[in-house]
């Protein structure tokens, strides 16, 4: 246990049990969880074959709880740096509402439970993928990469990219090129998304000693990398079309969305000083969330149109 974990435990001078149900819900990182549920749902929809609606619901629930468990374990381990950053200092553990040990127990229980439920009730390929995702996010990203290298979110981004693969595996029981193409979209999207945030939260990350790219390589290099990763993301976006996972409706939508993403990446690259630079980064960050939602929404929309026509 780190000094900060002991500090938090002693500052609260409590025996534990102070957290409300809402605090425990906050440990699950509900906003991240909502994106995980959505992308996993798209994985289920995109996969060839069918899954009983109740089993699909169980799969989504288990994936959501597994993602929440990862969030709780992340908040347990990162309590020291969360306490130093404006964005995270009001989280339940640094605030003292939940003791580090409680967050650890809560997260570990949910992690094991979600994997067992997905494995037993749906299939073990999906269960194993969920277990690997939790391991990757907690051990590889949170405990190792995040504090060690500026490439933390490039590699660590894989954890956030697995949910559509898990959804797909829940239907087929396999890992296919189609599901890997959905994985790659989120994997390539993550760096520009997080680096846009890191650019306007640079001082926050610097205060916590987290080696994000803007602090290590500088804002100009980060802007260049955002543009490079955006350019690499664009062809990846069309992989599901070439693999026959999606059709022309998705392709047309992806073309428009890709142009929009590139526009904002260029805006971040060009605006480097003052308020305009900050605004460009904030817009890029906001648009990137909407972009991922829309690109994945195209898949069920296309399926729905296919069913209706």
């Amino acid at each position: 246990m780190s000094d900060t974990h002991l500090d938090i435990a002693s500052q609260t001078q409590s025996l534990g049990g102070q957290g409300t149900a809402g605090d425990y819900f906050a440990l699950l990182k509900p906003r991240v969880m909502s994106l995980v549920i959505f992308t996993a749902f798209v994985g289920i929809v995109a996969a060839p074959g069918t899954l009983h609606p109740l089993l699909a619901l169980v799969a989504l629930l288990a994936i959501a709880v597994g993602a929440g468990a990862s969030g709780a374990l992340n908040m347990w381990y990162d309590a020291d740096i969360d306490a130093l950053m404006k964005r995270t200092k009001s989280r339940p553990v640094p605030r003292g509402a939940i003791l580090p040990g409680e967050a650890l127990g809560f997260g570990a229980t949910l992690a094991v439970g979600s994997v067992i439920v997905l494995g037993l009730l749906v299939n073990w390929v999906a269960g194993a993928l969920l277990a690997f995702t939790i391991f990757f996010y907690v051990a590889i990203y949170t405990m190792w990469l995040k504090r060690w290298t500026a490439q933390n979110i490039v590699i660590g981004g894989a954890a956030g990219a697995f949910p559509p693969m898990i959804g797909w595996a829940a239907v087929t029981g396999t890992i296919d090129l189609g599901s890997i193409s959905l994985f790659l979209i989120i994997f390539m999207w993550t760096p520009p998304h997080f680096w846009a945030l890191a650019l306007f939260r640079e001082s926050d990350y610097a205060a916590a000693g987290v080696p994000m790219l803007p602090n290590v390589a500088g804002p100009d290099e980060t802007r260049k990398q955002i543009l490079i990763y955006t350019l690499a993301l664009l062809p990846v976006t069309f992989l599901p079309v070439f693999l026959g996972v999606t059709g022309l409706i998705y392709g047309a939508g992806a073309a428009i969305l890709s142009a929009v993403f590139l526009f904002y990446a260029i805006s971040v690259y060009r605006n480097r000083e003052g308020e305009r630079a900050d605004r460009a980064c904030k817009k890029m960050f906001g648009v990137s969330i909407l972009w991922l939602f829309l690109i994945f929404a195209l898949i069920p929309v296309e399926r729905l149109i296919g069913v209706l026509t």
Partner: protein, 50 residues
Amino acid sequence: MNNTPFSPEDLARRKKRSLVMALILGGLVVLFFATTIVRLSSNAALMAGG
């Protein structure tokens, strides 16, 4: 004299947490039962077909 180390607020929070936990567990029991029925009936259909 109150011997418990927990304040009335702590106990109220605990009660609410327990209630939420009970609801979640109850929901899971229903969900697992329904899932078992679905899996059993699909297995039965497969056996009848084979």
